[in-house]
Symmetry: D2
Subunit: 321 residues, 4 copies
Amino acid sequence: MIEAGIIGGAGYTAGELIRILLNHPEVHLNFVFSTSQPGKPLSSIHQDLIGETEIKFTDKINSEADVIFLCLGHGNSKKFLAENQFSEKTKIVDLSTDFRQKSEDHDFVYGLPELNKDHIKKANFIGNPGCFATAITLAILPLAKNSILKDEVHVNAVTGATGAGTSLSETTHFSWRDNNFSAYKSFEHQHLHEIGQSLKQLQADHEAAINFIPNRGNFSRGIHATAYTKFSADLGEARKLYQEFYNDAAFTFVTEEELHLKQVVNTNKCLMRLQKFGDNLLITSVMDNLLKGASGQAVQNMNLMFGLEEKMGLNLKASYF
Amino acid sequence: MIEAGIIGGAGYTAGELIRILLNHPEVHLNFVFSTSQPGKPLSSIHQDLIGETEIKFTDKINSEADVIFLCLGHGNSKKFLAENQFSEKTKIVDLSTDFRQKSEDHDFVYGLPELNKDHIKKANFIGNPGCFATAITLAILPLAKNSILKDEVHVNAVTGATGAGTSLSETTHFSWRDNNFSAYKSFEHQHLHEIGQSLKQLQADHEAAINFIPNRGNFSRGIHATAYTKFSADLGEARKLYQEFYNDAAFTFVTEEELHLKQVVNTNKCLMRLQKFGDNLLITSVMDNLLKGASGQAVQNMNLMFGLEEKMGLNLKASYF
Amino acid sequence: MIEAGIIGGAGYTAGELIRILLNHPEVHLNFVFSTSQPGKPLSSIHQDLIGETEIKFTDKINSEADVIFLCLGHGNSKKFLAENQFSEKTKIVDLSTDFRQKSEDHDFVYGLPELNKDHIKKANFIGNPGCFATAITLAILPLAKNSILKDEVHVNAVTGATGAGTSLSETTHFSWRDNNFSAYKSFEHQHLHEIGQSLKQLQADHEAAINFIPNRGNFSRGIHATAYTKFSADLGEARKLYQEFYNDAAFTFVTEEELHLKQVVNTNKCLMRLQKFGDNLLITSVMDNLLKGASGQAVQNMNLMFGLEEKMGLNLKASYF
Amino acid sequence: MIEAGIIGGAGYTAGELIRILLNHPEVHLNFVFSTSQPGKPLSSIHQDLIGETEIKFTDKINSEADVIFLCLGHGNSKKFLAENQFSEKTKIVDLSTDFRQKSEDHDFVYGLPELNKDHIKKANFIGNPGCFATAITLAILPLAKNSILKDEVHVNAVTGATGAGTSLSETTHFSWRDNNFSAYKSFEHQHLHEIGQSLKQLQADHEAAINFIPNRGNFSRGIHATAYTKFSADLGEARKLYQEFYNDAAFTFVTEEELHLKQVVNTNKCLMRLQKFGDNLLITSVMDNLLKGASGQAVQNMNLMFGLEEKMGLNLKASYF
C-alpha cells in the first residue's frame, strides 16, 4: 500500500482527497496534517465522513510517507517545503500555484496528464494545475499541438462557489450568491500564466491573446467554459484533431452531444464539444473544479507516478442531480 | 412629510427599510446612521440602490426626526437609547428583541397589528415582532382569541439565509447551504417567548407547549410554517374563526388554495391555509421574513402610528419567480 | 384612468404586467383575456395575487380598451390582430417578436426608449424588445451612436429559467437545471436580428459580427451580459460617451462599481459598467429579463405613449436577496 | 459475475442503478430495457455516462439474468411480471410500491436491511422501500423494537425534486421550485402504510398515529426528517437503544453531531441524531432519496441476496458540496 499524507487538511481540496483516498485500493491514508485542528476527527470538519473513518487530524508529519499532497494556500507550499524535510522516496503533489511555472529553481512537473503524461510517470514532484487552467487549456491544446493557434481566443467560463475556497466573504455568502451571477478578474485571471505556458510548450510561437472572462456562478461545484477562435478547416477536421489528441486520455472525452455542467459534477472527467459557426471554432468544456480541476487530477497524477492504472480510485459515481 | 431616520444602516432589515421608505409617498428619508460606513453612499452597501438615491451614511443623528427605526443587534437598542436623546415627538420602532417583552421598565407596544392595532395607533414606541414569531403567532392566534388553544401545538418552520443576518458563518456559506437543509435550536428558539406572550394576551390560561422546530432552508427570503393541534369542531368552523379574526387585517389572508413560499416573497403579506385531518387542525402560513417579518411590518406600524393608510408604501410587487 | 387589457394572460410576462398595472396610479386593469382559463380568478394562475385582486380571466375582449398588451407566443400576435378588431384609439404593445423588425407591412415602433423615445411618444403600436436584445443593445449602442463600432463584438450572456417561458421541458426541470449551467443557440440566437437593426439605425455602416453565446443559468430571473470590442480611446472617453448617451434614460445607469445580477432583479433598471483592458473595452450589463427585458419596458413604453411620467408605476422595490 | 438487467431504464432510479452497477466489481450490466428508447445509447438519457459505457437501451429482455431491477411506475411492476417470464434463478428487486405490503399473493420481502437482513439474505424477491418510508422508519424503529412507541409521533420531512420523478409538472418547473418551499399530502402520504407495517412487525401493539407532513424542498437530492415523540427515559438510554439496534447496520449511523442534508448526498448512508427536550425525544435523520431511499438500497439488497459483502459497490464518494 502507498502511504499517503495530506498537508493542510481542513479545506475543500483536502476533503476531496480524503474522500477519494479512503476508497483507493492501493492507498492507505497515513496522516492528515492540520495545524488548526490537531486531535479532532476528520469528520468534525469533513462532516460527511461519519461512519467512514476514525482518523484524526494530526500536527505531526510522517516524513517517510510515500506521497504527500500539499493543500496549502498559494505561497505556503514553498514555505512548508523549506521548513520540513521528507525522505528521498517521498513523492509530492502540490495543489497550489507555487510550482506550476517551470523554473530552474525546482524539479516540479506540470501535472496535466493530457500534456505531460510521460514526464509525470517519471516525476517525483508535481505542480497540480489550476481549475480554470485545466478546463481552458484542454479546450484549446489540440490546436496548439497542431501549431494552428494563431488568432485571439475568446473564453468565458463560470465556476462554482467552492472555487473560492472555504473562506467567508461577501460573494460566498448564500444571501448574496443565491440566484446571482457576476464576472470578476476579467482579462486578468492569474491562471492565464499557466495556460500560456502549456500552449507555448506545444506551439512555441504562440502569441495571440487569450481573452478570458471568469464568472461566479450560483452553484457549488463545476466549471463550464466556452472558447472560440478562428479556424480555417471544417468541423470534421477539428474533430479529428481533438479525437487524436485525446485518444489515450483517461478522463477527457470529445462528444457531439450538447453539454451541460452536471454531466461531470463529482467525477474526474472533462467533456468537450466542438461546433463551427462561420470561421469560428467553438469549444465547450465542462469539468468538476474540485476533481479534474484539483484533487481528482492530483490522484490521477499519483497513479501515474506510482505506475498504477491511471483511473484507479477515480471511477466516481456522478451525482448528476 | 414624515422625517425618518434609520439607526444601524448596513444590515438586511435596514436595506429593506431604505428600499420601502424611498418610495413611500409620505416619508422623507432624513438620515441613515452607521458607525461603520459614514460618508459612503448607501449604494456602496445596498448595491441595488444605484440610480435610486444619492444619500450617504452618516454618523450624526438628527434628534428631531419624526420617526426612527432601530436596526441594531439584539441588546444594542437599549444601549443606544440610553446613550442618545430624541425629541418628545420622535416615535421609535425597534426591530430587535430588546422591547418585545412587556415590562414595567418601558412603554413599547408589541407591534403585531393583527393583535394590537388600536394600541399601536396610539403608541410612540414599538417593539417590532420577530420573523418566526410573526409567522407562528398569526397561525394560531385566532384559536387563542377563542380560548380553545388547549393542546400542544406542533410547529415546523423553515427560514431563508437572510434570517441569519449579514454575518458570515459556516451555515451561511454558499457552498454549505446550497442544496442543503438542517434543523437548529429545536424546542428552544428564542421567539417562543414572544409567541407565548401574545397567546396569553388573548387566552390568559394558555399553558400547553408550542413544540417548535426551526430549519435552515437553501433559499434567501421567506418563512414557511406548518402548525397543527387538536381542534374538535369542523373545518368550516375553523375557517369562520380565522376569517373573522383577520377580517380587517391589511396583509393577512386566509385562503383555501395550496400555498407555497414564493407567493409572498418580496411582499408584506402573510397567507394562511387551513386543513383538517382527523382531529388535527393544520395551519400553513407563509410570509417574507424581511418584510412582514421585519421591515415591512415596521413600516406598517409606522403608518398606523402616524394615522396613515395602513398599506401606504407597502403595495409591493411580488418577485414571485 | 387608462383602461388596459392583457391578451394571453397565463404566462410569465402577463403575470408581471398584472402585478405592475394593479399598482399603477393611472391604470385600471380592464380585462385579462385567456382562452385557457376563462372564469378563473387571476390568482389561480398568478398565485401571489391572493388578497390583491378579485379579477377573473375572461374570454371576452373589450375592443374599446385604451391600451392592450399582447403576451402571446411568437407568431401569434400577428394572427390575433388579424382576427380581432380594436377601436381607433386603442394603443397596442406587443411583447412577441412579431413586430420588432421594421417593415412596410406595419406601423409598430421598436420600443427601446433609450433608442426611440421620441418615436415611442407619438406611436400607437409598439414592438417591445426581446430580453437579450435589450441587455446587449444597451451595452453597445453608445458606440454605434458615435459610429465607432467597427470590430467584432464578443458577447456572453446568461439568462434565468423564466426566460424560457412557462412551458415544461428537460432544461426547465428543477432536477436538471439546479446547480447546472449550459450554453445554447451559440452564434445563432434569434435576437441578433433586432440587435443588428438597432445598431444600423445609429451607425448605418455597421457590419462587424456580434458573436453571441447565450447561456442557461440556474436562477429564475435576470440577465447578466458581458460584451467587449476594440476601442482605441481611453476609459474616460468611453465613460463620457456612455454617460452622454444615457443622460436622460429613466432606468439605465452607468456605474464604476462592480456589478452583479441581483442589483436589478425585480426592478426595471439596466446597470452598466465599463472597463478597459489593453485595447478592449469591456461592458457588463445586468437587468431583469421579465421587467426591463419584457413587461417593465412595456409599461415604460405605455407611459411614454400616454404622456405620463416615464417611471410611473415602475419604482419597484428590488428583491435584492 | 452477476448478470443484471434493469427494467424501465429512463428514469432517475434506473440512472442511479446504472451508475452504481457499472462500477460494481461483481456485476455485469447485462441489459437495460426501455420501451421508449430502444437502440439509443444509455448516455443519450443519462448524459453523464459519456465515456463510461457504450451500452444501448434494448427492448429485448434476457430472461436468464441473475437479477433484475424493476424501475417502473407504481402499479406497473405487477403488470410487467404478469406478462414476462424469468428463469427460476432470477432474483428480482422491485423499486415500486407494488410489493411492499406483505400479502399472501406474493413472496416479496420488504427490503429494509436494518429490519429484515436475515430474510433478505434468503429472499429471491425484494420489495424495495420508499424513500420517505426509509428515512422515517429508521428514525423510530428502535423504539418499536423495544415496544415503547406508545404516543403519537410528529414527523416533518423535506425531499428534493428528484423525489417527484422525471415527469414535468408545475412544481418541478425550475422557475416555480427555485427558492421555494411547500408542504403537500400532509397526514396522507402513501408511505405511511409501509411505515406502519414495519413498526407493527417489531411492536405488534403499535397503534398511535404517525403525523407526517412531507415538504417539497428546492434542492435536487436528499431527505431531511425530524421526528419526535414522548420518551420517558433519558437521552443516554435512547442512544443506547439506537446504538444497539444499528450496531451491525452497514450504512446507518447514530451520531451526536449536528446534522445537515449534504453529509449524505450521493452516498448510501443514513445518519441519525438524537436529542431530548423535556419529555420529547427528537430524532433527526438524513439520507439520499435516490440511494439509501431507492437504488443504493436496491443494490444493498442485491448484495445481501447474493452473499456478497453488504457494502460492495456502495462506497460512494459523497459530493458534499
